[in-house]
Amino acid sequence: MSLTSTERGDPSAAGPDEARVGDAGRGRPAGPVPGVPRRGLAYGGMAVLAIALMVLVPMFFGTFQVNQIGRFVCLAIVAVGIGLAWGRGGMLTMGQGAFFGIGAYVMAMHMLLSDAALRGPDTLPSFMVLSGNGELPWFWEPFRSGTVTVLGIVLLPALVAGLLGFSLFKRKVKGAYFAILNQALVAAVAVLLIGQQDTLGGSNGLSGFQSFFGLSLADPLNQQFIYLLACGVLVAMVALAYWMMRSRFGELLVATRDGEERVRFLGYDPAGVKTIAYMAAAMMASIGGALFVPIVGIISPTSIGVAPSIAFVIGVAVGGRGSLFGPVLGALAVAWAESSLAQAFPSGWSYFQGLLLILVIVLLPGGVASLGQRFRRRRADSGNGSTPDPGTDPAEPAHVPAPKGTLT
């Protein structure tokens, strides 16, 4: 172990604060980013996901099942965000239902307003005729416009998550406390919605949609279009997550997860880093919620409360929170298992769900995505006899998953 003793100028003073904006032209080329799938693998996986959902599913399943799978796809969009915030950022986002709800209710308001406008000017959504005071609540007004609706779906959750996240992370709220606060947030949102009988349909929620941006929902072709749209959005979100994971921000996020104080000593603000990831996750949850409404046809507080928020997390945990495709596949699988098992054992599902979460956290903290890697390592162990050197295999993502045995 020798240290080179080449006498040389001060490396820390390499140039009088020259602008180090990009990397272009400086230094030798860097290899692939460690800890994330290589580009070919990632884009290949996205293509496979797109073909499976957008070609194979409509080919082999009937309208009803495609619609079911469309619902799973919406939940998978939420899962991509949780994977980013929890798997990469260590923030156990147990309250994504709140952001899912923002997107869903904004979309539902817009769809009901469009339906009412089709029936005639100054017509109220039908549930308001029964229970309202004959006037449109002020916060419905902006969502007459499709553009405002789309902007609202993306920006509102980002705003809420930005304010909430920054104030929590600045106060160094983390771990279980952060998770509990998220649960409190979603519980509060559900209570608030139930109280809004006149303006948001209370516990019945909003339903009875007839059109989606001018497309009649009665037409199966339009239904299929919305399904394909959801699938396209899912793939786009996976691509966005991949970009974030691969970027220097993604590395900094993992660093913040593993050593928040250390990041501070390197001149960064960990609260800012975490807030951005939390905002991205909130935005994805909101988009998932917005697409959920035209596919399922109803949004009510029961779909966004405490239990659904935990269910979002379970799918991510099962699939592998730190990996790129794990959250998507886990969410799809758990949602599918729910819809088929809940039919067979309506009362048993929630116990099974809880058991699943405990088993994964205890036995397989990296989720199913870490199985292949475990298997490979075991084979390497038995093959060499001696301890393998994980550093010698560049393909070995030994350092990908979240720390073992912890929730956050």
Partner: protein, 276 residues
Amino acid sequence: MSVTDIDSRPTAAADQTPLTTPAGNTGLAVRDLTVRFGPFTAVDGVDLDFAPDTVHFLIGPNGAGKTTCVDAITGLSKATGSVRLDGQEVLGIPVRKLARQGIGRTFQTATLFENLTVLQNLDIAAGMHRSRWSLLGARSRIDPAIDEALEDTGLGHVIDRPAGILSHGQKQWVEIAMLLVQRAKVLLLDEPVAGMSHDERQATGELLHRLKRERTVIVVEHDMDFMRQFASEVTVLHQGKVLSAGSVDAVTSDPRVQQVYLGSGPDAEAEGNQPA
């Protein structure tokens, strides 16, 4: 690392040296530093002067307040008094701004990002000198400062390994390399050679002396042998106060120091002199 790289660099560095020597580089001046934990005063009115181009050792028995001093200077513990870097007051400013001012530190137990590779660790450390927007993209090239720091610390061969699997000594060197790429002017190292083998200590000491050029290197250390060999300046702390300060010879011959620290018994003296 190609041969041409190595050949071309010394001249380039020589060209830059006069430009980059900070005109008012007067090191770190600590005045009346006091840290209280409730009724207990851990550091009691300490004055310290850390000059550039020195390896300054901070020694003292357990509980003397060495690490607390470093914590206070680096913003980890609340303190009163004054800490001036090149004449500018830095006490009380947030940790991340302090890092950008050029004060960097290591910890007793290495605190690398264990799930990231050595390159990723160093790249994050180098990031404070990049534009914020660079966070949006992936790393396409390796910052030459990283290669230089790796060469300085002899870590080139582990660049792609996860930091978590490195040996104890290698982790400390990665920490030092991180301070280099973050272009710290003041390096505070908390027990950098604890748990290292004799050869590793030797190599680390030599490294510190190469690094001291235009930097202030401050080392908190227990190992007396290491201190005698590599200190250019020593301050002895005892019960939160400065007991003695000066060259190695002056400090080790100070009777007060011998009493509280070195001369607490013939055993301690013998232990200190034993080659590791």
